[in-house]
Structure formats: structure tokens, C-alpha cells
């Protein structure tokens, strides 16, 4: 701690030389004893300090990567002092909560119809460029890891949707897995096909996906998510024509770049209504990929409303031996049987391999309902309302955590616009991101009856 304070003193009192700051940061964060001593000496002997500064300037150029991360982030600048000069813990919580609120507001600002039945192809660039090591251990491994997480999250949020995988390699595109609803099958296929070679061809990828997505029923939302590592595309023909073809087939193409922004990707996304982002680092990449998991707003002309015939299979009796139609193996009990053709299926949701009926269970439908009935964002409690805090509830309605800061002053809190109950910031995030229920509204019958009547 003393090293930290010393480091800060330097920045406050001394020159704004970045080299000096870098030393302070390096010393403060790595806790290297020799450097702390150096700084202490500098503190007293100005002359010697100047000399040392020059030395460090030279060293600075050849700074190691681990030192640079401290120097570049300038973490010492976010330190705050309280009245007595002690270091205050950095209040990341309210900061990150503010960011989350912004996200929430943009997401729910416009109540728009969402495309719940999605047919998504993930196009993964495994060309030579994916072997680059700027992401550790390599772009390919990082992308594969993020795609795995994405597939799981996608099926959790869109149980009625399907995913397919396409890989770009050696100038051609090939379909790794067909559209399907089983996360494990996709992940297994992807992990078995890791390896990079040749060039990437955006056009070939789009052509393939276009042909594949043209076969799906009209009510589905067609999407392509492209994870592009290369800085060029090696195409056999005119890619602009292909982009127009995608647009005509109503495929929403989104691209996440791993290297730099490419005009052709940007053009593709603009034309087809998708999103184009370039990832800065691995956490950012993860954030960008997962942004595609919740259903996107539906574009009215893109998908035609229709009634879909679906079956709700019952569990087969325990202990009955039958051959399942999906794996072609004899299994004992624990499966489902298709209500139309009575074929045995191992897991839901799926499409019956014999008669092609979409098979789901009622919880799968219920899993999507929260997209249709989102709960309203909670309001921040204004500072003026916080002043007469005797009237305010002392505990968070959800988790009973005290809403008072040390010193018995009310801390940051939010209130539901409907039931007026107060919640702590953590509960706010949990309620909106995972629970999708307001505990306050749910535990008041009167509010329910009012909303029921309006419905």
C-alpha cells in the first residue's frame, strides 16, 4: 500500500513524464523492492532522479510486455483519496452498473417484435490468418472457444432455433454441420476440425450459406454470423453480386472482425441489416459474440408469420428397449416418441428423422416467452428522494441486503416503476438478465389483476 501511495504522490507532485509514471506503476503493481527503493531515493534527491529518468527512458523502449500492460492501462490514475488522505477502494460496482443500465435501456427502449425462430449459420474463418498469435494462444483457438460458449448460450435463449457451422479454408467454404438443434453435435464437430490453412473467401462462404438458407421455411429468420480473421478475401467472382443475392434472400449477415476493419465486411453488414464490429481483445470478442445470442429485432418483411406444425412427444415408459432413430442404437427407456410416426427420439427439441415433424416440449416454448414479455427497466432513485431516507425501505426487496451505506445513509438503489419496490444494484442485474420476473410485482396480487384486466 505504501508503494502505491508513493507512486501516486509522484504523479500528483512531479512532472507528467510518462516514463516516471511507468516506473511508479511498475513498482506499485509488481511490488519489486528494488524499484520502490529507487523511487524513494528519487523522492529525496532530485538531481539523481533526473539522471535515472533518462536511464528509465531508455529502458522504457525495451520494456517487457508484462510491464507495458501496467504502463498502458495507467491504473494508478483511477486511485481515489478520501478526506483523510487514505486510499479509497475503487467503486467499480456503480460504474459497471451504469454501463449495464445503458445497455439495458438501448435493448428495451423500443418494444419491437423479435425473431424467435432463427436459422443461423456461423461462418468461421480458419484461413492462414487465423493462425496469428495476437490472441493467445492463437486466433483459431480463441474463436473456437468463443463459438462454443456462444452455441450453448444461443440454444439456452433460442430453444426453437437452429445453428449450422461453415468453415472458410484454402479459398473454399465447406459446411461442417448442417442446421441442427443439438449444441453438443456442433461443438464436437468444431473441436474435431481445428486447423488453419490457405486463404479465406468471403464470397464462397456467403454463396454456400445463401444456398443452404434458401431451403428453410419462410417463417424462420435467416442469419449468418461471420467471424473473420483475414484482412483480404480471395474470391472467384464479383462479391458485390453475392451481397445483393444475400440481401434478396433476406439473410441478415453480421461480421465480427479479429484484425482490422474491412470495407467489404462493413458494406455487407450495411446492405443486409447486420452488425459489424472489430474485436479489440478476447473479453471484447466474447462480448461481441454473445451479443448475437438474444433474438434480434424482427424485420417485418424478412419472415412471414405462419403456423408451424409441431409435436409434443411424451416420454416413453421406463425399461422399454427400443432403437432410437437419431443414433440408430438400441436403448433402454428414457426417450421420447414422435406423436406422428412413433419413432424413438433421445432428446428434445429436434426434428423427427422419420417424418420431419418439429418436436418440442412445453418448457421449450416457455423459455422464449420472456423475450415477448420483457420486464421494464427499473428507475434510478433520485438523490432528492434519497434525502428523506426515513421513508425509504431499508432493505432490498429481493435479497434483503441492507440498502444503507456505512453511516446509515441510503446507498445506490433502483425502484420498479410498477410496484415501487426498491432493489439493490446486484438484484437489478440478476432480475433483468436471468430471472425476467420482478419479485415485487409478482408478490402483489393487485398489480397482477390490473395487468390481467388490461390484457
Amino acid at each position: 500500500m505504501s508503494a502505491l501511495e508513493k507512486g501516486k504522490e509522484h504523479v500528483d507532485t512531479g512532472s507528467s513524464s510518462s516514463a516516471e509514471a511507468a516506473i511508479a506503476a511498475a513498482a506499485a503493481n509488481s511490488g519489486s523492492n528494488s524499484k520502490i527503493r529507487q523511487i524513494r531515493e528519487m523522492n529525496t534527491e532530485e538531481k539523481r532522479f533526473n539522471q535515472e529518468e533518462e536511464d528509465e527512458e531508455e529502458n522504457g523502449r525495451g520494456r517487457e510486455a508484462w510491464e507495458r500492460t501496467y504502463a498502458d492501462e495507467r491504473s494508478w490514475e483511477s486511485l481515489q483519496e478520501d478526506e483523510s488522505g487514505l486510499l479509497r477502494p475503487i467503486d467499480n460496482k456503480t460504474l459497471s452498473h451504469a454501463q449495464y443500465r445503458r445497455r439495458l435501456r438501448t435493448a428495451t427502449a423500443a418494444r419491437i417484435q423479435k425473431g424467435l425462430i432463427r436459422y443461423l449459420y456461423i461462418i468461421i474463418d480458419f484461413s492462414r490468418a487465423a493462425a496469428e498469435m495476437d490472441y493467445k494462444p492463437s486466433r483459431m483457438v480463441v474463436v473456437a472457444r468463443q463459438v462454443e460458449a456462444f452455441i450453448r448460450e444461443f440454444f439456452d435463449q433460442n430453444p426453437l432455433s437452429q445453428i449450422g457451422l461453415v468453415i472458410l479454408k484454402d479459398g473454399v467454404a465447406h459446411c461442417l454441420t448442417d442446421l441442427g438443434g443439438s449444441p453438443e453435435a456442433h461443438i464436437k464437430a468444431l473441436m474435431g476440425k481445428l486447423g488453419t490453412s490457405g486463404d479465406a473467401s468471403l464470397q464462397n462462404g456467403l454463396d454456400l450459406v445463401c444456398d443452404l438458407l434458401n431451403q428453410i421455411p419462410s417463417y424462420g429468420h435467416r442469419e449468418a454470423l461471420i467471424l473473420y480473421s483475414a484482412l483480404s478475401t480471395c474470391d472467384p467472382g464479383d462479391i458485390l453480386e453475392t451481397i445483393q443475392k444475400c440481401k434478396a434472400s433476406k439473410i441478415r449477415c453480421s461480421v465480427i472482425g479479429l484484425s482490422a476493419e474491412l470495407y467489404i465486411c462493413k458494406h455487407l453488414c450495411q446492405e443486409t441489416g447486420g452488425m459489424y464490429f472489430v474485436a479489440l481483445d478476447e473479453p471484447h470478442l466474447k462480448e461481441l459474440v454473445l451479443e448475437h445470442a438474444p433474438p434480434p429485432p424482427a424485420i417485418a418483411e424478412f419472415a412471414v408469420a405462419n403456423l408451424i406444425k409441431m409435436g409434443f412427444p411424451q416420454r416413453t415408459a421406463e425399461g422399454v428397449i427400443s432403437i432410437c432413430s437419431c443414433h440408430k442404437e438400441a436403448k433402454v427407456g428414457g426417450g421420447y416418441s414422435c406423436p406422428r410416426c412413433k419413432a424413438r427420439i433421445c432428446e428434445l427439441p429436434t426434428e423427427c428423422c422419420i417424418c420431419g415433424l418439429t418436436l418440442v416440449s412445453s418448457p421449450h416454448l416457455a423459455r422464449s416467452y420472456h423475450h415477448l414479455f420483457p420486464i421494464r427497466p427499473f428507475d434510478d432513485v433520485s438523490p432528492s428522494a434519497l434525502k428523506d431516507f426515513h421513508k425509504l425501505p431499508k432493505n432490498c426487496f429481493g435479497c434483503q441486503l441492507s440498502l444503507l451505506n456505512p453511516g446509515n445513509l441510503p446507498g445506490p438503489q433502483v425502484a420498479c416503476p410498477n410496484c415501487k419496490q426498491h432493489f439493490c444494484l446486484d438484484c437489478d442485474i440478476y432480475i433483468h438478465e436471468s430471472l425476467h420476473n420482478c419479485p415485487g410485482c409478482e408478490s402483489l396480487r393487485n398489480s397482477k389483476t390490473i395487468s390481467d384486466m388490461e390484457e
Partner: protein
């Protein structure tokens, strides 16, 4: 109370969230049977005490599921020694408050209690425990429920169930009334909890202590009641019939047993391109909330 960080949580320390159904209409319907509310509470109290005796670090939180509201009635980590008195006092306050909130004079039938509210509260509390650090007691939820299911709560209850499933919190359910609860059957099945409907309600304490008192770690060594086959068939919105095969609206996922030209829920016309009118499913949400 010792700070959480200094506690050494082993894998058999549990946090038990008990949701107690206090629906007065349900309990008055039980009057002519031998099993009344005071009897029920005495069984529950004995059970809570035995949980706290099993492991000194076990924690019990009781949430009352009322007819008009839900509230926390007891938390063993904050209450002092007189547990039973404390709980009964808070419970009585709650029942009075719940009654004063009532707007209707008479209710046809038993009416449902607010299961979705108490489930949501319990999950919020569990998230707080998860946030407290890497070492925390193993949470589980036990619903002691008697009222029939409220159809209007379906979406909210399902949301709670999926959230519990994602955070690996099992929902155990013990149904006291005469009929099975489809909500709780699904909840226990999806989250991997135990669903039980005692044959003899007078022996409730024995059921509770033999089935629901064991911690999650020890459950793998026991022969607990097998999950019943849960019927995951859906019922159609038009006739409320349970169906094997049906039609789903691609916009709002409403279930119909026959082919319609227009969706009665969201108003979209099927088989032709829609105009850019706001769908009624959105209107529903904006009106309803």
C-alpha cells in the same frame, strides 16, 4: 454472527429456503380434515429446528407465500435464540397484513397463492449468497405448497424455474393439498429436485425429515422418491385441451389445436406477408406491465 469469510463451508452445509403457503382460503378448506394450519406450522417448526441441528452452519430462510403478498418471515442468520417465537410473531404479522391487502370480499374456490413472487424472492436471496464469495452454503428451495396453480402465473413461474436451473439450484416440492401441482412437478423435474405428495399428511414431519432434510451432497447416496413422469405436452390456447400435435404461431409462439387464419393472441395473419403494423404481442406487454 461470524463473518462469512471466516466460516469454513464444507460441501454438506446447506442454505434452505422454505416457501410456506399461507393462503387462507386453502387452509380454511382444510379445516374439515384433521390437518390444520397450526398443526402444519408445528411440523414445519420441528423440521426447521432439525435442519439447524444437523449442522451448526446450516442456514434457514422462511418466505411466506400469501394470497395477496409475499414476505420474508424468518432468517436464521439474523435472528436471535428464540427462533420459534420470532418466526410465529412475524408470521402472524404477515397474515394480518396479507388479509388487510385483500380487495375482494369473497373468492370463488380456493384461489392460488403467489408462488412466482416467493420463488423470485428466494432466487434473489440465493444470488446474494452466491455473490458473498467462493465459499457459501449449498442453496436449495423447498416449496411447502397446497393451493392450486394459478394459470396467470405460468410465465413467471417458468422464468423462475429456468433461472434456478441456470444457477443449479434444485427446487424441492412437498404438496400438502389433495391435488398434484403441475407447476411444482415441472419445477422439481427441470431443476433436479424432489417432488413429493405425502400420502398421510399427519406424518408431514417424518416426510420432511426423511426426504427433504438431507443436504445435496448426501442425496446421491440415498434412494429418494423417483421423479414422476412429467407430462410435457402443451395445452392449446383455444380450447385448453392437452394436445400431442399442434400449430405454433411463429411470431408469439401461441399454441393452437387447429389451423387458423389469424393468430388470436398477436393478430398476425398467417401465410401472407404482414404489413408493418405493431404486433399485438408487443401491445400486450406495453399495456400489461
Amino acid at each position: 454472527m461470524t463473518p462469512v469469510s471466516s466460516k469454513l463451508y464444507a460441501d454438506d452445509v446447506s442454505l434452505l429456503m422454505v416457501l410456506v403457503d399461507t393462503n387462507p382460503y386453502f387452509w380454511s378448506s382444510m379445516k374439515n380434515t384433521a390437518f390444520t394450519f397450526p398443526k402444519f406450522i408445528s411440523h414445519v417448526l420441528a423440521f426447521l429446528n432439525s435442519i439447524l441441528l444437523l449442522n451448526q452452519m446450516n442456514q434457514v430462510v422462511v418466505i411466506a407465500t400469501g394470497y395477496n403478498s409475499c414476505d420474508y418471515v424468518f432468517d436464521s442468520s439474523t435472528s436471535s435464540m428464540q427462533r420459534a417465537e420470532c418466526l410465529l410473531e412475524k408470521l402472524e404479522d404477515f397474515v394480518d397484513k396479507d388479509e388487510s391487502l385483500s380487495q375482494e370480499d369473497s373468492v370463488d374456490g380456493i384461489g392460488f397463492s403467489l408462488l412466482s413472487g416467493s420463488l423470485s424472492m428466494a432466487l434473489c436471496y440465493i444470488q446474494r449468497v452466491f455473490r458473498s464469495g467462493p465459499l457459501h452454503p449449498q442453496p436449495r428451495i423447498l416449496c411447502l405448497h397446497g393451493s392450486p396453480d394459478g394459470p396467470g402465473q405460468y410465465v413467471a413461474v417458468m422464468n423462475s424455474i429456468f433461472s434456478a436451473q441456470r444457477s443449479m439450484v434444485p427446487i424441492d416440492s412437498c404438496v400438502i393439498g389433495s391435488q398434484h401441482s403441475a407447476f411444482l412437478q415441472q419445477a422439481s423435474y427441470i431443476t433436479g429436485g424432489v417432488y413429493l405428495k405425502p400420502q398421510v399428511s399427519d406424518g408431514l414431519f417424518q416426510y420432511l425429515s426423511t426426504v427433504f432434510a438431507t443436504d445435496l451432497h448426501s442425496r446421491s447416496f440415498l434412494q429418494l422418491p423417483r421423479p414422476v413422469g412429467v407430462d410435457f405436452r402443451a395445452s392449446c390456447f383455444c380450447h385448453k385441451n392437452t394436445i400431442d400435435m399442434g400449430f405454433i404461431c411463429s411470431v408469439c409462439l401461441s399454441i393452437f389445436c387447429k389451423h387458423h387464419k389469424k393468430c388470436s393472441t398477436c393478430g398476425s395473419n398467417f401465410g401472407e406477408a404482414r404489413k408493418q403494423d405493431p404486433s399485438a404481442s408487443d401491445q400486450r406487454t406495453s399495456d400489461g406491465s
